[in-house]
Symmetry: C2
Amino acid sequence: MGSSDTKTPPPAAAEQPMKQSAPPPQYKCNSRPVVDVALRVLLFATALVAIIVIATSKQTKMIPVAPGLAVPLTAKFNYVPSYIYLVTALSVACLYSIVTGALSVLALTKPGGISTKMQFHFVMFDALLLGIVASATGAAIGVSYIGLKGNSHTGWTKICNTYDSFCMYSAASILLALISSITLLLLVWLSIYVLYKKTTRR
Amino acid sequence: MGSSDTKTPPPAAAEQPMKQSAPPPQYKCNSRPVVDVALRVLLFATALVAIIVIATSKQTKMIPVAPGLAVPLTAKFNYVPSYIYLVTALSVACLYSIVTGALSVLALTKPGGISTKMQFHFVMFDALLLGIVASATGAAIGVSYIGLKGNSHTGWTKICNTYDSFCMYSAASILLALISSITLLLLVWLSIYVLYKKTTRR
């Protein structure tokens, strides 16, 4: 008899603190992995497309070597060491974005969200990768600029007037690599912001 | 009987958590600005020396242009766009390290240390500068590699067999720029670690 009486509405004051302590941080915590996953998907997409674009940039042209004699000469990304470095760095970024993106998606499905420890590890590797991808993008831009403009002081002639399609593909790939670098910077900034917010919330 | 038996052990167990929660974080918090200042001094020193070294890399050589005719030709850092970018990025890093280093020294003198908000701003700019300096270092390495090895596919001849001293100076400057980049990465890692430690301490 007594136990059936307690079923009705229990004290409202006892439920209030329970409700207040749970939902607000949950909302704040859940908005972050969505942006994190979106940025990691963007990183994956830009890195993958950049690799595909530069890998398919091969161009063969008939180059005159003597009056009345032209030979077919090919321009390929693996003839330029800086482009090889760019492809390597982007491949690492691509694989990394798959692994961390999957872990971020898992965090989306969990009620507790991503743990602070994992977030700490993520941002450490994000910063390292930012340095690697930024340096690879810089190296590719440095060499592409010579290809585009040449350098009269060193006697390096421009090649983009001959290999126009190769240069166009390289430029598109470099632009995508630049977006990858900026995405990594945004990922680092986002994680730092979340860590900072966690320190001020205590 | 039972209640008198339980009296003896509690004091030690009750004191333990009190001791654990207070002193260790104080020590850890104060050791951080010292490492931070040391890294900012290292950043300043490497960036400044790198700028000086590349700015003084000018070399003039007599280059034969025809049988019996040689003209003096000069190699300077501002003939290479990637080197101009490197000097610009390192100058920004140098100025930045002076400002943030001074603020870190001020934090050393204060009893409260550096505020979390200022630390948050520091690490945001550190990450941005890491991207800029890393890309400038990459660009310089990419062009220097052509100068050292040449590129038979594009017809770019190596110049380091002629301008040996210029190349040596450039290489030293690039090595110092690489150390600057690594220092910036360590600064970002240190700040992230401190923020992470602050979140776990709550």
